[in-house]
């Protein structure tokens, strides 16, 4: 279904504005209470073991530092290939997530294994560059073999009400994700919820991204004060669920930044199950953007198996 049919008229800033502002407002208190109540569920033993493995397989193992080196990226990839040398049944993360110029090194390290390489693009994390630069950034990453592109939206344009601009940029990046072979890179759209200020804005940004053809909507870059939170993720899960019910298109959600413990991650899984349902309990439709989470999950896995608490001296720190 094309965007004009969904919006109900020719796409202009006015029509987009009308459409986005007709979305129901978010009940802040209700949303936060619902998220808090989902966070109290107790997941133990067998269910916990299952959840931990699912969390690993949903992870985008990430390194996005100015100090990233090819060697650092290689060691991250090795960690993704063999998360735990003592237990080779440990599943691998879904993807590694790196800067665009590191894609070639990640690809070389991963080879033909079934771990995707995701690249952040479009002047990540601020998104403050001309469209020409953003497109070239994306094309470079795609040409280097990235399977997924994590783009940031132009928050400045969004906050000043220039929805058409945001929409067009997402569409243009989506085009840039195409390959001559026909196998396009998946597009994850980072809303940077910490900068959108209100829940209403987050709901609007989610709908705008879905309208423009996002395959995933992602909460944050991990580079600002407020990153992924449970209420925000719950809100975005409602958006993708409603979008699927309305238009039959299933879109993924990726909370990123600030999820460091298994306990946190399990709360997210509970929220996925209770909000969007089983269809989203799948690495193709739900991802965790995280770097230190993996070590904590590995420690918890060992704790379940050996019945002793692990120390950080016994897992690789990277």
């Amino acid at each position: 279904m094309d965007a004009e049919t969904i919006v109900g008229s020719r796409l202009t800033n006015q029509s987009l504005r009308r459409w986005l502002h007709s979305l129901p407002g978010v009940d802040k208190v209700g949303l936060e209470q619902r998220a808090a109540s989902l966070a109290t569920r107790s997941i133990k033993t067998d269910s916990k073991a299952w959840a931990l493995d699912l969390i690993i397989s949903m992870m985008d193992l990430t390194t996005l530092e100015g100090a990233d080196t090819p060697a650092r990226v290689r060691s991250l990839c090795n960690k993704a290939i063999t998360p735990d040398e003592d237990d080779l049944d440990t599943p691998s993360p879904a993807a590694v997530c790196v800067y665009g110029d590191m894609v070639q090194h990640a690809k070389a390290a991963i080879g033909k294994r079934k771990i995707y390489v995701a690249a952040v693009a479009t002047a990540f994390p601020s998104g403050r560059a001309s469209l020409r630069v953003k497109l070239q950034d994306t094309k470079d990453a795609v040409a280097a073999g990235a399977n997924e592109i994590d783009m940031v939206i132009d928050r400045g344009a969004f906050l000043s009400g220039n929805y058409l601009e945001v929409f067009k940029q997402i569409q243009a990046i989506k085009q840039a994700c195409q390959r001559p072979s026909g196998k396009a890179a998946h597009l994850k759209v980072i809303l940077e919820t910490g900068e959108l200020q209100t829940y209403d804005n987050i709901r609007r940004a989610s709908y705008l991204a879905m309208l423009a053809g996002a395959d995933f909507i992602k909460t944050s870059t991990g580079k600002v004060g407020v990153n992924a939170t449970l209420p925000i993720t719950l809100l975005m899960l409602q958006a993708v669920r409603d979008w699927y019910d309305e238009y039959g298109i299933q879109i993924g959600v990726k909370p990123a930044g600030g999820i460091r413990t298994s306990k946190d991650a399990i709360r997210y899984l509970v929220t996925v199950k209770e909000t969007a349902g089983d269809l989203w309990l799948d690495p193709d439709y739900f991802r965790f953007g995280a770097s230190s989470l993996l070590n904590d999950v590995l420690m918890q896995r060992k704790k379940l198996k050996t019945k002793t608490y692990l120390g950080s001296d016994y897992v690789s720190v990277d």
């Binding site: 002793t308 608490y309 950080s312």
Partner: protein, 283 residues
């Protein structure tokens, strides 16, 4: 008529006074078997929380200057002195000692504490060394704290045993998770209040009351604990076996000599690691 406000004795973890994660408590009786107080009964998850609090506090405490650590520890002795009546009353009620005997026990505890506090900036002067080597280098051995220590206060001592268990660990910059005597736990838990009102950073000392048999395995087997002190443990041989699965320093029962009731430098050194550095001397 007025109702007394009774104190519930709670755990001391990360500078806070939580009830046990399990929500359980047990009753402590006085020397005649009469109910004295309700005390939190720690669980395995309290051990977990205490170890992670100790782990996060460790670098900061070890990084403080020896002089500063000494000042902080002296301050604790001052606080103990100020709460003399409370401690004497608790020791008397639990053990049936006379006021004179209870006062003597508190005196011994404070003296021991001050004795330990004095060591912070003297350890390396006494136990470090400058080693002769065949080359143009200074070769210096210094003592570094081992890290997070797990320990058991002796079951038969209300206060002195507890003080002599934690002081040797923390003077050098270790942080500690200590399991108190089960029946004589009140002075140890009140000691947590002393720590909270002195300048010891939260997490340096973590105090758990409960059944030693329930907690010891989790503490000794915990891989994030760098050393265990089994001097006060009831079944040290069993615990030694459980600790053997991990790389950690184990202080067996009787592995150091005590100097009366005060403590021993050997005990302090057993909870430290020797680090040797080579430094070029020039010509």
């Amino acid at each position: 008529m007025r109702l007394d406000v009774k104190k519930t004795y709670k755990l001391f973890i990360g500078g806070k006074f939580p009830r046990s994660e399990s929500g359980r408590s047990y009753q402590v009786s006085d020397s005649k078997g009469k109910h004295l107080a309700n005390v939190s009964l720690a669980s395995r998850k309290d051990v977990r929380d205490a170890v992670s609090a100790a782990r996060s506090a460790q670098p900061g405490w070890a990084g403080a200057s020896a002089y500063n650590r000494g000042q902080v520890l002296y301050r604790i002795a001052e606080m103990l002195e100020g709460r003399r009546d409370q401690f004497v009353a608790e020791i008397q009620a639990l053990t049936g000692k006379t006021a004179k005997q209870a006062n003597a026990e508190l005196d011994a505890a404070i003296d021991s504490w001050v004795w330990h506090a004095g060591w912070t900036d003297k350890i390396d002067t006494v136990a470090g060394s400058m080693n002769p080597v065949a080359g143009p280098f200074f070769n210096i051995s210094t003592n570094q704290p081992t890290g997070v220590v797990g320990a058991f206060a002796p079951q038969d001592s209300a206060l002195v045993g507890f003080v002599n268990t934690i002081a040797p660990a923390i003077v050098s910059g270790n942080t500690i998770v200590v399991v108190t005597s089960e029946k004589l736990s009140l002075p140890a838990l009140s000691f947590g209040e002393v720590l909270a009102t002195s300048d010891v950073p939260g997490g340096v000392v973590n105090i758990l009351s409960g059944k030693e048999s329930e907690l010891s395995g989790w503490l000794v087997g915990h891989m994030d604990v760098n050393a265990v002190d089994l001097e006060g443990a009831s079944k040290p041989a069993e615990l030694e076996l459980m600790a053997a699965d991990t790389v950690k320093r184990v202080l067996r029962k009787g592995s150091y000599e005590r100097l009366g009731s005060s403590g021993s430098l050997q005990h302090i050194l057993e909870l430290m690691e020797l680090k040797t550095v080579w430094h070029p001397k020039g010509h």
